[in-house]
Amino acid sequence: MWRFIAGRLLQAIPVILAVITVTFFLVRVAPGGPFDSEKAVIPEVKAALEAQYRLDLPLGQQYLAYLADLAKGELGPSFKYPGRSVNELIAAGLPATAELGAYALLVAVVLGGLAGVIASLKPNSAQDYIPMSVAMIGICMPTFLLGPLLVLLFGIHLEWLPVAGWGDMPGDKILPSLTLGAAYAAYTARLSRAGMLEVMSQDYIRTARAKGLPEWQVVTRHALRGGLIPVVAFLGPAFAGLLAGSFVVETIFQIPGLGRFYVQAAFNRDYTMILGTTVFLSTLIVLFNLLSDVLAAWLNPRLRAQFGEA
């Protein structure tokens, strides 16, 4: 098991390095300097600014200096908001985004898992078709359409829930979490249904039934663990998708989170902010992928045997 984790960690390093390198040079070759928008900067000021952002050094040295900063965990100063570092901006946006992502993941796993398991217990019945059709809608309905539609229905027409904000009014976290989690709940439902169907036809389930366990215990004690492996393996890619989805959801609901900052930085051409956020988010995604792989392997006795018990 430890060898498996160590192996995956080793794989993650070149990926993260590749992300840093590609992003760094992409941002550097971008047309238009960061200070082009400033009104007629005095040459001395411009030189001082460039020195502050190390733009006066050759590209190779800039890259190495950036790597050295990264190793210390420093992402550099923001282009757009002088005096604020990218670290501070990320720290300001992260709590809301993390909370939103956690709720959305909860929506995805609980709602989706429940729907999938329920559907799998009576395949090809109404109990199967109804949740699975809803799931299909969830997959086809883009986040940026679902969000406004939910706001229109629950916020404006029924006036049950606030239409925007985060932590300002009771209940204002419900709609964003639902919006972001819906598509993943739909995928989770399909995956858990397929996983459960496969597991339920296995011999050990027949054995469990034969020794007289009630059906609900067969499901909860024996089937769930194996049936949910695909869901756990999906959590890694889902996390990446959730982060991207948070760009849209945070924009729609005006949540001061990382996703919204990233989109704003993109429009402002705040290159250091883009660079820093990309590196930060990518590392997070790679680590989360790793975590979900390890978890899925740990849940799967066959894989566990292959790598030896920890």
Binding site: Q11, P14, V22, P31, P142, T143, F144, F247, S282
Partner: protein, 295 residues
């Protein structure tokens, strides 16, 4: 594709090809047929839009402003008095074009990459697929946003960027197919006849892997269209004066409180298309008996 499509001797005896068989099965799947019908209709409309659109694309009517659906404007008008149906028709041209062109880019790269890796095997295969694994781990959504920011927001780049992301799964599927086909006698026969690897891949391997390729292509188009709409919604995709469904949805979301039809109709067009493609893809998967699309 002129190469033989009959893969199984018993099928040949019964006189039905794989494709006739598949079509027979697909015909029984109502949802897939519905998807096919909707999709064909939308494609035909998109092709002839410049001639059949009820109004000119840039025709404004500021006196009218935003008006709900009526006899003159079936789907209503936006705040500039532009006909929404016309906007959706022209927007659909771009949304569908991005979907098909970017998928074609992904198809060409993915099939070539996978076929070469699968056919060469050994170290070449290991290196090529290792690269795919690494690329898989990259957070592409963030990268596409980055690309659009850095290089400006033009349509050609959008095609390439999305296509360059979506080829990975295709390469994996193709490699798996080629690996299993490689073991078969007809490939050995082709090798012993002295055909070049390129010819074998083109004439024998790709046509025989067409089933999974078609299925996966059908399922890639909706994810590409979703990506385009996502970018356009954020303002990083299609730029005015051009329009797309994603852009129309983002305008609609801004004014949905007063003019909900501006959100609902473009949203319906996009959702219906994505639905149709997914149903058709699922139907084709069953009809062509392709197991495990790799994701």
């Amino acid at each position: 594709m002129t190469a033989t499509t009959i893969t199984d001797a018993t099928l040949a005896e019964q006189g039905t090809s794989l494709w006739q068989d598949a079509w027979r099965r697909l015909r029984k799947n109502r949802l897939a047929l519905f998807g096919l019908a909707v999709l064909s209709t939308f494609i035909v409309i998109a092709l002839v839009t410049p001639w059949i659109a009820p109004y000119a694309y840039d025709a404004q009517n500021l006196d009218l402003g935003a008006s709900p659906p009526s006899a003159e404007h079936w789907l209503g008008t936006d705040i500039f008095g532009r006909d929404l149906l016309t906007q959706i028709m022209f927007g659909g041209r771009i949304s569908l074009a991005v979907g098909f062109v970017a998928t074609a880019v992904a198809l060409v790269i993915g099939v070539t990459w996978g076929a070469v890796a699968g056919y060469m095997g050994g170290r070449v295969d290991a290196v090529m697929m290792r690269l795919v694994d690494i690329l898989y781990a990259l957070p592409f959504m963030i990268f596409i946003v980055l690309l659009m920011v850095v290089f400006g927001r033009n349509l050609l780049l959008l095609f390439l960027a999305i296509g360059a992301v979506e080829w990975l799964t295709m390469a994996r599927i193709m490699r798996g197919q080629v690996q299993s086909l490689r073991q078969q006698e007809f490939v050995e026969a082709a090798i012993s006849l002295g055909l070049s690897p390129a010819t074998i891949v083109r004439r024998h391997l790709v046509p025989n892997a067409l089933g999974p390729i078609i299925v996966y292509t059908t399922l890639t188009i909706p994810s590409v269209m979703l990506l385009e709409a996502f970018l356009s919604f954020l303002g990083l995709g299609v730029q005015p004066p051009a329009t797309s469904w994603g852009l129309l949805i983002s305008y609609g979301a801004e004014t949905m409180e007063e003019y909900p039809w501006l959100l609902i109709f473009p949203g319906a067009a996009l959702t219906l298309t994505l639905f149709s493609l997914n149903f058709l893809g699922d139907g084709l998967r069953d009809a062509l008996d392709v197991r495990g699309s790799g994701d």
